[in-house]
Symmetry: C2
Subunit: 291 residues, 2 copies
């Protein structure tokens, strides 16, 4: 997905929220915003928004001297999600449609996104779990997702955020753990899940976990490791979570299933839904959108 | 008031809304946003936000080739306010505290601000009239305003937006029309009231109306005409409406009464109130804040 003009105010909003998280020094805050002005001025709008996000958050880490400013946030939401896991697992087990319920909860967990939702409260996550079963869903896409899973032996499941990856466990258990390789970011960016979060939440005990070698808040293939690109090419099926993965892979040269909550109006417009919707989208060339 | 870092995302948001109003050509929209990036990069943050607003809206008028892009909006809200005037006048006449009621309605009319509220619906203005009597008010400031009016012979009443100036009539009738000179902007900027709006709404028949010689969405004294500056200096009392006048005059070297609705979080923070509050603020050097 290209960068829309509406993304420009949002880059500054996100940069300001991020730099305020790492320092209360207004001179540093201003310096970061001026640097973001320079970066955005030079930006090619055919790039996807996470390419700018990557640059902004490299800058935040550089000026703060902190290689992982969201470490505490990530741990906190991993713990919250782990504490909610038994309740969520009971919901899936008690459901007449356990696959659907697991998909819903996996999407509900996508609310844990400090790029779009800085200062997210734990209460919002609990509400998201409670309302997950009521959100309207694209039934055709759900059936298509289920059918593709049944026909696939090797599934690359590209995760998004810390905390959210505990929600992903529910769906991976439905898919069958032996089929799945879970993907985390190569190094910290915003609150995106890395190998550390996969270990903390037990994902590494459940399935093979690999990292993509990149610090972008999405999956910019040319920025990922050759190993990851090979896995991306060879897997029978790709499932990804979150807006950043949709923004970077929706035009890629293979079929991809995208699961996310449409949290910003630009994405909602691109997908053709209301902001806040639960999305199961089949995209990439070879996806149903292009048939 | 200086420009806060939070104003930066908002400049782009406002520029984008404004350029979309004048053209659907995305190339022109992008060109405007890139020019705003250049302007904001070079900006001195000790300037007030309306100094950037002035530059942005000059740019919008230039690229659109339209000297008054908000002409239709201004006329529409003048008409709406004129249609509501008898109802509002009845509210004032029926009130046990007609001065207070007129102040409340004058502040309620400040919702008609296309800088902060692009795409404002007429229904919101009607709701604002209906809820005007219930908003909490600073009683000390109200009494101080009333006392200052009683002691003043010449009052400069600096208006803000088209439509809103009909609401101002109610307060001017309470003040006594012989005391008041009403001030409009020197030429069109956003939906700010100009001489044309003063004529259309009958303000010119009620009191003397002068313009300030500037196209800033506020009152940047050094950008105003010498005539206006002289009137500003000599008047017994200054009353201004709206955020833009507060942002440009809150530090000025004389006492000023500011009436506005705090519509943005930056102003609310500066004043020390909740967003949406009705504000009567005594500012400028000589204002109560500095005693």
């Amino acid at each position: 997905m290209k960068t829309f003009l509406d993304c420009i105010p949002c880059f500054f909003y996100q940069a300001l929220n991020a730099v305020r998280m790492v320092t209360s020094d207004e001179e540093i805050q201003e310096r970061v915003l001026r640097e973001v002005l320079r970066l955005v001025s030079a930006m090619d709008l055919t790039q996807s928004p996470p390419e700018m996000g990557q640059k902004i958050h490299r800058l935040i880490r550089e000026v703060s001297g902190n290689p992982d400013p969201y470490a505490e946030v990530k741990q906190r939401f991993n713990r919250l999600a782990l504490a909610s896991y038994p309740e969520m697992q009971s919901k899936v087990r008690a459901s007449q449609e356990p696959f659907e319920t697991a998909v819903r909860l996996a999407i509900a967990g996508n609310v844990i996104d400090f790029g779009v939702n800085p200062g997210l409260k734990e209460e919002v996550v609990r509400q998201s779990i409670h309302s997950a079963l009521e959100a309207p869903l694209n039934w055709d896409a759900l059936k298509s997702l289920q059918a593709a899973i049944a026909q696939s032996e090797s599934i690359l499941y590209v995760g998004d955020n810390a905390g959210e990856i505990v929600f992903d466990r529910l769906l991976i258990e439905q898919i069958g753990r032996q089929k799945v390789t879970f993907v985390v970011r190569g190094s910290p960016v915003i609150n995106d899940a890395t190998m550390e979060d996969a270990r903390m939440t037990g994902m590494t005990d459940l399935v093979e976990v690999i990292d993509n070698g990149s610090d972008a808040p999405g999956t910019i293939l040319e920025d990922c490791s050759a190993e990851f690109r090979q896995r991306f090419k060879m897997a029978d099926m790709i499932i990804t979570k979150g807006q950043g993965n949709y923004e970077t892979l929706s035009q890629v040269n293979r079929k991809v299933f995208f699961l996310f909550k449409a949290k910003c109006p630009v994405i909602a417009e691109d997908v053709g839904c209301e902001t806040g919707s639960y999305i199961i989208e089949v995209g990439g060339f070879g996806g149903e959108k292009l048939r």
